[in-house]
Symmetry: C2
């Protein structure tokens, strides 16, 4: 399990001209459906993009947001533009994951209604990601898009919102480390720095979980 979790990668490079067997894709979508959800809302919808024109339109939306992101980057813009941020045209299957319109569930989300449906969809995507890794398929989560134009492109009803464009398919090789780390964009924090005890900022005490001793 540790090996699976540590070997999962956010992929941007895919082998061109591949396809995924329908029964494999079904297994992955079932994995996504076996996610936890607040009040059992199951607030996830997956749109399989099989129409080439629609795939191309999605690639164009992402290209536009990539430019907008570069403009917002300031001094790291040039460095950013050297990074490959998606594999939309190359990947075997393209999926869009979205929240459906809110069904008004109160259970477990009276105080955080928005956050909790977002969490449920994210857990579902993480299931799909890990299940894909087991099948030796890469997945890349692209969040570089304006949600409203993408929602319109895919005829989503009011209140629905896409959170992820998912590139899925065979890859030449999984990156040995996160691509952003390999590219020198950002590095991993030690896991112990993310663990406190009883109060924010308090390092975990000796003999407890996160002791560095």
């Amino acid at each position: 399990m540790q090996r699976l979790l540590a070997g999962r990668r956010d992929m941007r490079h895919f082998r061109r001209g591949e396809r995924i067997a329908p029964e494999t894709l079904q297994r992955l979508l079932q994995a996504a459906h076996h996610a936890p959800s607040v009040g059992m809302m199951q607030p996830w919808r997956y749109l399989r993009i099989s129409d080439p024109a629609r795939r191309e339109a999605i690639a164009a939306l992402v290209a536009r947001e990539r430019d907008a992101t570069a403009s917002a980057m300031g001094e790291r813009a040039a460095e950013f533009l050297r990074l490959k941020v998606e594999g939309i045209r190359e990947c075997a299957e393209l999926l869009v994951a979205a929240l459906p319109p809110d069904d008004g569930t109160v259970f477990g989300r009276r105080t955080m209604p928005r956050e909790m449906v977002v969490c449920s969809l994210a857990c579902s995507i993480q299931n799909l990601w890990l299940a894909a890794r087991v099948e030796n398929l890469g997945l890349g989560w692209v969040s570089m898009f304006e949600p409203q134009p993408l929602a319109e492109l895919l005829a989503m009803p009011a209140g629905a919102m896409p959170l992820a464009i998912l590139c899925l398919g065979p890859v030449e090789a999984f990156y040995p480390a996160p691509m952003l780390e390999i590219e020198g964009w950002r590095s991993r924090r030690p896991w112990q720095d993310a663990v406190y005890e009883n109060a924010w900022g308090e390092p975990a005490s000796p003999n407890s979980a996160a002791s560095k001793a």
Copy 2:
């Protein structure tokens, strides 16, 4: 993998008086840390609650929100109040998962800054959940709390926000199906109903992933 994903449960019943070995808890926190995150922000913090008084205060916060939820439930209030919604006092380890203050990252979240950090934290929790299941430990995600008082109780800085109280520990048995399904609260949708093709509401075509044929 399918068996692991299908066998993960949101647990509310734990064996009392148990503990988790420090090295096991470390493995689980490392699993959580091996999550994907937008722009490699790694926007997750885990607070281990080892202080009994603090655990009790968290239980009290959840009890208060349970009452508020029941009041908001309308005609299902009595049915709701029969459900066990947390195992805070019984579980071996209690963790609180929270977003840190925003670090201003633009990469991958110019258009959806809030959703994307929430997604990253949720993926991290799902990793922890699955890793716990592999170790035969139950986990229950409690979202029934007001975030602000919980943030204050744990001395979180402005901009930080708790999204989950995580009950973790040995259980007598994993529920054979989601507890809310067993209790008749809500049932599972067929996975095919969550899959569309090219446009919202369009059933996946024959020979494609979600064909029911």
